[in-house]
């Protein structure tokens, strides 16, 4: 079987996980932007208890989450290319986002848990299956 045919026949099956990561990244980015906007414009929505938030106040966390969210959406689109820089930024951004949500967790625990879950899915898909899209080229 020729090299060209093998390459073509396998591309469809193998790029799946990276596309999944890209879509998850766009989704978690949109979540983040929503969390951030809510923190900025409707902060009574959050149920912060006496413990408060770590390090920053709600407004600062709002801007951080909004920024991370927009970056994540952009990185998600870049991830469709399978470029190495996009994969590295995706993993780094997802890891940072996990830490941000750890600190933000007391504001809305279940939201933070969802964001962390999706971030780990992104990291898993990109690290374990990330080289597949680039090879398909």
């Amino acid at each position: 079987m020729s090299q060209a045919r093998m390459t073509r026949s396998r591309q469809t099956a193998w790029v799946g996980w990276l596309w999944f990561a890209a879509i998850m990244m766009i989704m978690t980015g949109s979540f983040n932007a929503i969390y951030g906007l809510v923190a900025l414009f409707k902060d009574e929505y959050y149920t912060i208890t006496r413990q408060g938030l770590l390090v920053f106040d709600l407004t600062a966390w709002g801007w951080i989450l909004l920024l991370f969210g927009l970056l994540a959406v952009a990185t998600g689109f870049a991830l469709f290319s399978g470029a190495l820089w996009a994969r590295i930024s995706a993993v780094a951004l997802a890891a940072l986002n996990v830490l941000a949500h750890m600190a933000f967790m007391s504001a809305y625990p279940v939201w933070a848990l969802i964001a962390i879950t999706v971030d780990v899915l992104v990291m898993w898909a990109v690290i374990v299956h990330g080289d597949e899209l680039a090879e398909g080229r």
Partner: protein
């Protein structure tokens, strides 16, 4: 395709180390998590939902804090070791992830969600190492063998 699969000494590093790289990333992320928890335990234990008396074991938050910082630093070191391909790091990673899960069970009352997240991370680390750690051995000393198969061909064979 009826040809024999390629010999075992041609695994491609990128593919075979994927799970280990993931395990390493997760243990390092858990490590940073531990350090942050440790700092909160030491400096701001009012942040927690319970006082030290409410924990499953009788320890002060100061002890818990130093333990968490120690676990965190060790996790980061082990993560780096895993990226570098050290076998000892794989063994240490499993042990440390198990210890981390047990300590977080003991301190779950302080911040249940954090403990749940960390225990989940620990499980990922253990799975990645136990299920896929041996693939590192396949790789060792063989990746200079200049395989004449492309990576995609190898993956296709490995998956079959």
């Amino acid at each position: 395709m009826t040809a024999d699969p390629p010999a075992d000494d041609h695994p491609h590093p990128t593919y075979w180390t994927g799970w280990i790289a993931f395990g390493a990333a997760m243990i390092m992320l858990a490590g940073v998590f531990h350090v942050i928890e440790g700092l909160v335990s030491l400096l701001d234990d009012g942040y927690y939902l319970t006082t030290a008396a409410g924990l499953a074991v009788d320890v002060s938050f100061t002890v818990v804090g130093w333990l968490q910082i120690g676990l965190g630093v060790a996790s980061l070191a082990i993560g780096i070791g895993m990226f570098l391909g050290a076998t000892i790091a794989l063994v240490a990673g499993v042990i440390l992830a198990a210890v981390s899960a047990i300590t977080h069970m003991a301190t779950i009352a302080a911040y249940p969600m954090w403990s749940v997240v960390i225990i989940a991370f620990d499980v990922f680390v253990i799975y990645a190492i136990v299920k896929h750690g041996r693939e590192m051995k396949l790789l060792r000393g063989t990746h200079n063998a200049a395989p004449d198969l492309s990576e995609r061909e190898w993956i296709a064979h490995a998956r079959r």
